[in-house]
């Protein structure tokens, strides 16, 4: 069991899923309430990482982070090194990779809030922003927890994007799934087995929390916000 890789992965997943709460809530808000006619294109783009081979996503992220892209150059002028093959680069790749796993449960739970409650809130003198904070968010707790847990679990198990963007630098970008791959390559099956089992158990527990929440609810209000709406 490679604890260095384990803790690196947990740190990555923790940072990514926390950032995804901050990024995912505005995106999901927009997807839920916008009446823009081309909204479906954005929805499709957000959902892309679900179907795209991680290597394809990883490839584009690598290009975007490289020193030839504006983003890469900006980062290099700021920090003196490139984003590719760094932990920060890994975070950016994983944010994209796990975005739909946060946004979709968020948007589903926002959309499940009874519109009459929003109307009542407006009649009682609350702006849309305050209504969102005082009515929509509290009633979407399950969706928020679901999105957090799913993006955490999804980041925990990512492989292709990490390999493309991060490479395999111990302590910097070698995550647990890369570590398992390495161990199998060197025929170190018992160690691979151990690590794989840990990953399996953690993922199962996380998903159990998600489905348990959706099953029982906190207020017995609609918690029907499964990740796959």
């Amino acid at each position: 069991m490679n604890w260095e890789a384990f803790w690196l992965t947990v740190r990555l997943a923790g940072i990514v899923s926390t950032l995804l709460i901050a990024i995912g809530i505005p995106v999901a808000y927009w997807l839920t309430y916008s009446r823009w006619r081309w909204k479906f294109l954005v929805e499709a783009a957000v959902a892309l990482p679900i179907v795209l081979p991680p290597t394809v996503l990883g490839f584009y992220v690598l290009v975007a982070l490289g020193s030839r892209s504006p983003l890469g150059r900006w980062w290099e002028s700021l920090t003196g090194h490139t984003l590719a093959f760094t932990f920060e680069g890994l975070v950016i790749g994983s944010l994209l990779y796990s975005l739909p796993f946060a946004v979709q449960p968020f948007a589903a739970s926002f959309g499940a809030v009874d519109p009459n409650l929003l109307r009542a809130s407006a009649s009682l003198g609350h702006s849309p922003a305050r209504t969102f904070r005082r009515v929509v968010l509290p009633l979407s707790k399950a969706g928020l927890v679901t999105g957090f847990a799913l993006s955490f679990a999804h980041t925990l198990g990512e492989f292709g994007v990490v390999l493309m963007v991060g490479g395999n630098i111990p302590g910097v970008t070698r995550t647990i799934s890369i570590d398992i791959y390495d161990q199998v390559q060197t025929a170190n099956y018992s160690s691979a087995n151990q690590t794989a089992l840990v990953l399996l158990i953690i993922s199962f527990l996380l998903l159990s929390v998600v489905f348990g929440l959706n099953r029982y609810g906190l207020h017995r209000s609609p918690w029907a916000v499964g990740p796959w709406r």
């Binding site: 009874d114 009459n116 409650l117 109307r119 009542a120 809130s121 407006a122 009649s123 009682l124 003198g125 609350h126 702006s127 849309p128 305050r130 209504t131 005082r134 009515v135 509290p138 009633l139 207020h219 017995r220 209000s221």
Partner: protein, 394 residues
Amino acid sequence: MGGGAMAIKTIIPTSSPSTSSNEPVHPISADLEVRIRKRYLNPEGSFHLNVHFRALAGFTILFGASGAGKTTLLDCIAGLTDPDEGRIAVGGEVLYDAEKKRKVAAWKRRIGYVHQDLALFPHLTAEENVAYGLRTLSAPQRKKRSREMLESFRIDHLRDRRPSQISGGERQRVALARALVTEPRALLLDEPLAALDRPTKSSLVSDLRNWNQIHRVPILYVTHDGEEVFALGDEVIVLDAGRIVAQGQPHEVMRAPRLETVAHLSGFENIFDATVLALHEDRGTMACRLGSGEVELETPLVRAEVGSRMRVGVRAGDLLLATENPHGLSARNILPGTIRRLVQRDVIISALVDCGGTEFEVHVTLAARDALQLGPGKAVWVVVKTHSCHLMGM
């Protein structure tokens, strides 16, 4: 109203310091002016809401069948949807003016709106629901005001419960209290009492009346229950397919309906096409033939010509049944017929009587049915007072 016995602890003086300090004191009589057009959809198709009225402080009933545009109208006033054109003002302040492109956002209008399904916040307790609209007050003020409101609506004991943990009538009280505590400039009530039993309803209505004795704001009250119109209304506006078809005091509008829509809504069970046969100006009556049958009725005189076609509405409860040909009655219309069938509704027996091809619905009591041994096939006489016949234009 049976609610008179319920003593009300009267609430919140208008000059409470909390309002006078940070909000403008609105004028005593802030009337609501509405002149709007809007296209709306209901299950039967697309309609144009086209209304123009002024509601003074007190109850104004909006009466009409479902789909008449009542809810669309309230949504426009509350700012939850935009009219296509027109103007809405309350207490002199313009909330919406299509020409001047002025539109006040819903949350800045200070108009209370209680929707039929109440929309209580499920994650908040009754007290938190009531306090929700008091965001401009400090926390202790908010608590004080919402407690007072809960007490005056006699739901203080429920303050820590969630909406799912209280009864339907209690939820209605919470919803009303939540809207009233914000001291709205006008109040829109969309069938807020529809699901309540009668005693609960009348005690809530008297709570509302008491509140409005102090606050004097226009209350638009939507219903399609004719009884509520008489119980509540200072003024009634009848909507049909998006238009105002009648407006006035309830007894004017409902007792002498000039329009068939009002008659249907106001509970005329019997509506007949009629042809004017003769005018008796000296007696203030006229003779009409009903439909193509042979039944003739003496009705009150209205401005009409011989041969013109009218509609006659008669309430089933205004008709008498006799098992022998009666005499010595003041009623001018005594029509022989045969009972076709009897239907029991609660404690009312509804008898369908065929009088020479014209069918009347007559309401009698259970006791009358038994005493007269009424049943299908029995020969009876239907007695119609002249002034029970309400004439309507076609």
